[in-house]
């Protein structure tokens, strides 16, 4: 679904990503792990076209994404759950859920209603709190809402930027389990995480990002066993 070929990304004069390549296919959960400042967030922002790569190519469903505006990419099914969840505080949980799906072509009122039921089944707490303002949810509830908001848009690819940030371990497990079952159902999932071991336990495939370069790639359980390597890269 996503092919990234040798991209270089700079923000201003500062190079952030160097010669990064990766593949993302349906039904696979791929994780990108790395220390703070390794370029993980920039990688996702580049995939969503918020940042333009200096060189290299990105294809989504076989077509180059260069020049497509971020909101159109999202509507086409490349959906990015940003860091910090970004729940609109002044809108209700329900409004937050619908706000993206409302703008996707081909999603009529019925499919949106079905989507709501599906997400309420996935995270029952959202159903209980659907009329509460998004700003009044706990961090964990907000993260579930952020994931559900993205899923409401019927994504083909789901990008997640550190969903574990600031959450209790139990909630992190709930979220990662949900991501795992989404991938098993055929979604392409790219999970950027700082909690390397948890991410490796969940993912099929992993890339270690170090100072903007892919330092190591392979099946997640192989990397998981290689504890010494992980620790030397992640510090």
């Amino acid at each position: 679904m996503i092919e990234v070929d040798h991209i270089d990304v700079a923000i201003g004069p500062v190079g952030i990503l160097h010669d990064v390549s990766l593949r993302l296919t349906q039904g696979r959960l791929v994780t990108v792990i790395g220390a703070n400042g390794a370029g993980k967030t920039t990688l996702l922002r580049t995939l969503s076209n918020i940042v333009t790569p200096r060189s290299g190519a990105i294809r989504f469903g076989g077509k180059p994404t260069a020049g497509i505006k971020p909101h159109l990419l999202a509507r086409a099914g490349l959906v990015h759950v940003p860091q910090g969840r970004q729940i609109v505080p002044g809108l209700t949980v329900r409004d937050n859920l619908v706000i993206g799906a409302d703008r996707v072509a081909g999603l009529d009122a019925d499919t949106i209603a079905q989507g709501l039921e599906r997400e309420f089944a996935r995270f029952p707490v959202l159903k209980e709190r659907q009329h509460i303002l998004g700003g009044n949810l706990s961090g964990g509830e907000q993260q579930m809402l952020a994931v559900s908001r993205a899923l409401m848009m019927r994504p083909k690819v789901l990008l997640l930027d550190e969903p574990s940030l600031g959450l209790a371990p139990q909630v992190v497990t709930t979220i990662l389990k949900a991501l795992r079952s989404l991938a098993d159902d055929g979604l392409a999932v790219l999970l950027v995480e700082q909690l390397a071991l948890l991410a490796l336990d969940t993912a099929d495939e992993a890339h270690v990002l170090q100072r903007g370069r892919v330092a190591l790639s392979g099946p997640a359980h192989d990397l998981r066993r290689d504890r010494a390597v992980i620790e030397s890269y992640l510090g």
């Binding site: 909101h71 940003p82 002044g90 848009m153």
Partner: protein
Amino acid sequence: MTLLNFFQLLVSGIAMGAIYTLTAKGLFITHLATHRLNFGQGDFLMVGAFASIGMLTAGVPAPLAVLGVLVIMGVLGYLLERFAIRPLDRLGDRAGAYSWVLTTAGSALILQNIVELGFGKSAQYAPPLFSKTRDNVINIFGVGIFFEEAAIIITAFVVVGAFYWFLFGSRWGKAVYAVAFNPEAASLFGIDVRGVVVLVFVLAALMAGISGVLVGPLVSVHPHMGLIFTIKALAVAAVGGFTNPVGILVGGLLFGGAEAFSNYWDSAFGDLYPLLFVMALLAVRPSGLFGERRADVR
């Protein structure tokens, strides 16, 4: 002051206050979504007033004239965003943080001179919109008030109501809130951020235009009247707490009322006292009567 006098002043004050509210709503919505606002908002009001005078005196029926004004204002709002706001966003950090003050105020100067070229420097009155003559008086509970003023108040409140519905009830209003919260995140969930920015500037221009149409029969209209309306709308928005739509309504009515009474006491400097009052209020409560904390009130 007799009780009769009091009620008549109150009605005049509410009429002007409702117009200030409408104008200030325009400032509020662009500030909410983009943290920018049109320093020529009062001049947009002036253009709306002249466009309506021009069409009404040329014999265009009032509903068509209003429609015409709305079209003109919508186009002006789009052009303002396109040429005074968007290029600065493209420049990013290379444009100063407050360059939009200059570009919007500069656009206002251009508008003033264009209108002066077309209509001359002298002050004009718009023909009444709702009644045949200016001094058509109706009796409510024994108090005679100008029909025109009553109709203006009702119209202004209907427009404010429509504005609230848009902001809190429509999917575009929700998009405005999402962009106000975080434009980058909004684009990630499929919202056309640039479209929303255009929308709020068009809406702001429409609010100024409607204000202009309504104010035409109440005050004398001239090409350089805009600045004082910009200042008063800013004062009203500041009293209301800038990001609080309900606060702006309260601020507008208070300001309009205060102005009517202060003009009654002192016809030479009547406009001064409400502004001094606002300054004093802001010195004590810098975030206005209601404050930004309560921006999410429904």
